[in-house]
């Protein structure tokens, strides 16, 4: 028996509810794994004035959903700091796609994530996290603010709620399937 793993990236700005969403649907409490960067990996300007700082630890939260006895889905939250793009590359490599969480109080914090997946042609859905209360914007306004392509699904979710978070994942997989050539 072979065992296949499938990845989904959960992205969005700092504090948009990534780990909350992972925790809502994961069959295990979210785990944290770390990548350690040495000074050479970090931009020179990043250590200016931070004497003695030679190492940076980037934490990644993730969860798991066993789909069948031979297929398991992993949900990886992107690191809180947007600048570690090479870690995003590692997460996105071979992934089904991404759920980009959006906090309507701070739409701009999710723009780097939208931009990242759009530029690379990686399927993603934009999920407005309702946790933050009444949304002041219409779907059209959110799309315009985030420069979302018309074909990118925009959905509403509550990252604390399992059913709602599950729907966001289902939305992503459907979208990824729809974009796939039928002959594949």
């Amino acid at each position: 028996m072979d065992r296949k793993s499938v990845k989904v990236v959960v992205a969005g700005g700092f504090g948009t509810g990534k780990t909350t969403l992972v925790g809502a649907v994961s069959e295990i409490p979210p785990l944290t794994t770390e990548e350690v960067l040495t000074q050479a990996s970090v931009g020179v300007d990043d250590v200016t004035g931070v004497e003695g700082k030679t190492r940076t630890t980037v934490a990644l939260d993730f969860g798991r959903i066993t789909i069948t006895s031979d297929v398991v889905l992993y949900l990886f939250g992107t690191p809180g700091q947007d600048r570690f793009w090479f870690i995003w590359d590692e997460l996105a490599q071979g992934a089904v796609g991404a759920v980009v969480l959006i906090d309507t109080r701070r739409l701009d914090t999710s723009f780097p994530a939208v931009d990242y997946f759009e530029r690379r042609g990686i399927p993603f859905v934009a999920a407005v996290n309702r946790f933050f209360g009444e949304c002041l914007y219409t779907e059209a306004e959110i799309r315009a603010a985030l420069k979302l392509d018309d074909e990118v699904p925009l959905l509403w979710c509550d990252a604390r709620d399992r059913e709602s978070s599950k729907k966001a994942l289902i939305g992503l997989v459907r979208h990824a399937l729809a974009r796939m050539p039928v002959s594949n």
Partner: protein, 121 residues
């Protein structure tokens, strides 16, 4: 002078004094580039008693299929080190790995399986 190596101080509570990079002979990336943080690993029925403790700890976690990311999380090891150590175990025939996380050209059937699985949850 700045250090540019992992000095292993996360392991200090366990009394560990050897930097982890020594265990992987200074390798900084796995030779098997298909290894991904979601790659599934399982131990093969081989006696691991000759291995160093740090490798045996990995083998102990792999009685059932487990991802590289989970091994790193449970053993509190940085991801890259975990990946390299799994790669060493793979080369030496102690473990086997599952299919790499979806390749560039995604497999439609797997996505359909995932979709059906999520809808069943």
């Amino acid at each position: 002078m700045a250090y540019d190596v992992w000095d292993g101080d996360d392991e200090a509570q366990a009394g560990r004094l050897v930097p982890l990079y020594i265990l992987v002979n200074g390798r900084t990336s796995p030779r098997n580039t298909n290894l991904d943080l979601a790659t599934q690993v399982i131990a093969l029925p081989v006696d691991p008693s000759r291995l160093e403790l740090e490798y045996r700890e990995i083998i102990d976690r792999c009685a059932r299929w487990i991802s590289i990311a989970e091994i790193g999380a449970y053993l509190h090891r940085p991801l890259t080190i975990t990946k390299v150590m799994v790669d060493v175990l793979l080369e030496q025939g102690y473990v086997r790995v599952g299919a790499p996380a979806q390749q560039k050209i995604a497999d439609r059937r797997i996505l359909e399986t995932v979709l059906a699985g999520l809808e069943r949850l």
